[in-house]
Symmetry: C2
């Protein structure tokens, strides 16, 4: 009985207006979709934007012990934005639906796993008479995932659950934004503004009255020394900040020098299961992760889990089902302040559900550190694997250590993501140091 895996790695509610993505961003999004092979098991059916590179498919399935020949890949005809990503129009194409039904043996799949459960995915479930196979279908079919992936909605949910968040608010109008930003400036703080829907820090900007603030969690700092500068910024950027007045804007205090940690869960009807605690590497936007999180002490971890538990319980009561990551910053003085929940497969889900548990077998759970970084420029995927092997750095199933190439963006920006698996953080960092002798680090 097949699981249907949908590589809709870029959706409107994840990254904003898809039509606004550059060709490079579209291609990169499609490359990320290929990461869904990590989740595949024998007999599964995958819907992907384009055919997977054969070498990557072989590499991944060898590591997960999956019979690659048992997998079926269905690729819909190109859509309004071409063939790089699975735009909603591609998922309703009649010939695609016929192919997909045939690939599933004209039976509904036992489960549907999608990166993001928007209306195009619930519509596909309905077209396959497979509503019951999509966890949380009733909620998602009413566009609920937009609510629980909104950074604006998050702040209300968190405040309602009594979970600590950065001081700030959610605004609809430029005047409200001016007031909220000025309030924080007047208290001597810098400000982070966040688009309601985006990810990885790319929808955030830091605003400061003074020079010298180092960005984390946003690509840049905008210096606004006085009220005219602030007025001009809000006026000039309002279209972008609200995606043409369609969305609300988060305004909150920026905490320089914070680290970003998260707890990731799998939410079912009955409960929420913790699948991992990690740290996101922000340089200044997300470029990797460390699992388990290494920089937080037991007390901070307990605070993270306490808040995350409450957030995830609220999401469960609301009706969301599936993977949730509850993200928080840890400020230099040790406060844990929650920043968002991501109700979708995240950039770290494959670490928690596959690398830690299938590639590294469950007996070694909690005995390994996973350090993943994007942006290693390589000549080709096959050449990259070859160089790793020649240098003795490739993953070794006996020692359960070494480097796994997790994402393949070679057809995009020419890079791969590498996850070093080691006994401890220091060893994992050493593996990345040695990677730097083989590949060029383009992450920052």
């Amino acid at each position: 009985m097949a699981t249907l895996i949908i590589g809709n790695s870029r959706t409107w509610e994840m990254v904003g207006d898809l039509a606004g993505l550059t060709p490079d961003q579209l291609r990169a999004g499609g490359c990320v979709a290929q990461r869904m092979f990590w989740f595949a098991r024998d007999g599964d059916v995958l819907v992907l934007p384009f055919a997977p590179p054969a070498d990557y498919l072989t590499y991944v399935t060898d590591l997960t012990g999956t019979d690659a020949s048992s997998l079926t890949v269905v690729i819909p005809p190109p859509g309004s934005l071409g063939s790089d990503i699975l735009t909603p129009d591609r998922l309703t194409d009649p010939s695609f639906l016929n192919d997909l039904r045939r690939s599933l043996g004209d039976r509904p799949p036992v489960e549907i796993v999608a990166v993001y459960k928007d209306l195009s995915v619930t519509g596909l479930a309905r077209a396959l008479a497979a509503e019951a196979a999509l966890p949380g279908y009733p909620f998602s079919a009413q566009a609920g995932d937009a609510l629980v992936n909104s950074k604006a909605g998050f702040r209300a949910l968190a405040a309602g659950a009594g979970v600590p968040i950065a001081p700030g608010t959610v605004v609809t109008w430029p005047e409200q934004a001016l007031e909220a930003i000025t309030d924080l400036f007047d208290q001597g703080h810098s400000v982070m503004v966040k688009l309601e829907f985006n990810g990885g820090g790319f929808g955030n900007e830091i605003l400061s009255r003074t020079d010298g603030v180092v960005p984390t969690g946003a690509p840049r700092v905008v210096v606004l020394p006085d009220r005219p500068a602030l007025l001009s910024y809000v006026q000039r950027r309002w279209e972008w900040l609200t995606v043409g007045h369609a969305h609300r804007l988060v305004v909150e205090r920026f905490f320089p020098g914070s680290t970003t940690v998260y707890a990731e869960f799998l939410v079912t009807d009955e409960a929420a299961q913790l699948i991992g605690v990690g740290e996101l590497l922000m340089e200044p936007v997300a470029i990797g992760a460390v699992v388990p999180a290494q920089t937080i002490d037991a007390e901070t971890r307990a605070e993270l889990l306490d808040g995350a538990d409450r957030l995830v319980e609220s999401l469960r009561v609301l009706g969301y089902r599936g993977v949730v990551s509850a993200d928080a910053i840890v400020t230099p003085d040790g406060q844990v302040l929650f920043t968002e929940t991501n109700c979708r497969l995240t950039g770290t889900t494959h670490l928690h559900l596959v690398l830690d548990g299938r590639v590294v077998d469950p007996g070694y759970r909690e005995k390994r550190v996973f350090l993943e970084r994007d942006g290693w420029a390589v000549p080709s995927f096959t050449a990259a694997i070859g160089r790793l092997a020649a240098a003795g750095l490739g993953y070794d199933p006996t020692s359960r250590t070494g480097v796994v190439v997790t994402s393949n963006d070679v057809d995009g920006d020419g890079t791969v993501a590498c996850c070093a698996i080691a006994d401890d953080l220091q060893s994992a960092e050493q593996l990345h140091s040695r990677l730097a002798e083989l590949f060029v680090d383009q992450s920052s």
Copy 2:
């Protein structure tokens, strides 16, 4: 120790763009604000858009047994839309804040009661150092009330709680709307489209392929016999349907001939207390109410309360505090389908909390029927009360029956709302029949 009562009877999230209201609508909104006097108790402070008519104030406080001279009314200077309603700018006026602080004896109020808890109300609470006096402040200060008053958000919340709703969905794009409407048309149904934020049915339209559908819950039926007509409708009305692309749109099956019922609750940190079950009179939009609901049997009432309990529990977990009305339609074949939650003081809250319990004393709870209808044209408020008395129709505290004039829109459209209180529905209807001999019914 004073309660602060804020008559913000028209907000963006209740009725849409305030700047789009006609002068008549603005004035009517301000008249509704005066209804807050029903909630006042000795020593309370009220913020109202304009000075209350003295005769109405005396009339209401006489019936509630409140010492009118103990009340303080604070009226902010006019705002961007004049002085008819409490626009957000009026609530931040520095001279108003000074007046208000003085009226409160330079102490925070013990409680803040507002019609709607948007950021202008949470900002006012903060300005008074009275955050703790506003139930659900943390949630509301993060604009949470927008989430729980959204008809789009409602459908996800209800689906997630397993509460029955009309078939349909929530859409962001015209293509999605076309698909959802066509789906329902193809199944032989008419469709109701609902603006994300509005009230009383005024933000709804019924769409039908055929003539002859009688509207309820929306001002009109739009006949769209074929696809070109539908395409043209969506194109022509998209700005209105989404308030300039800012909001999502609800598309659901329309059930002709349904009645509208509701269960109203007061939600606190610990629990949700049922304060009443009623029926809304839709002709074709809301023009009145019957309390308790008379047309539903015990089984239907139980279904209503079961679904409402679950909705209200979800709202409580989310963090909302205060009055909630969970509305549902009862279809001709007896289905109970929930349509929205209103997280604010509703058009019936004064019936449940004041007329039933203070005007009619608690000993008579469940022994009276309340039938309220808007739109009785009267020469003046005082003349209306005089005519009622002369006809022997005025409320009699001994028999606990008679007519109470609940709202005073004489300075607006020249009408009042009248609530007949009687032993049973038939007697209440007879009171309204006799009203028709005194006043002109302009409700429909």
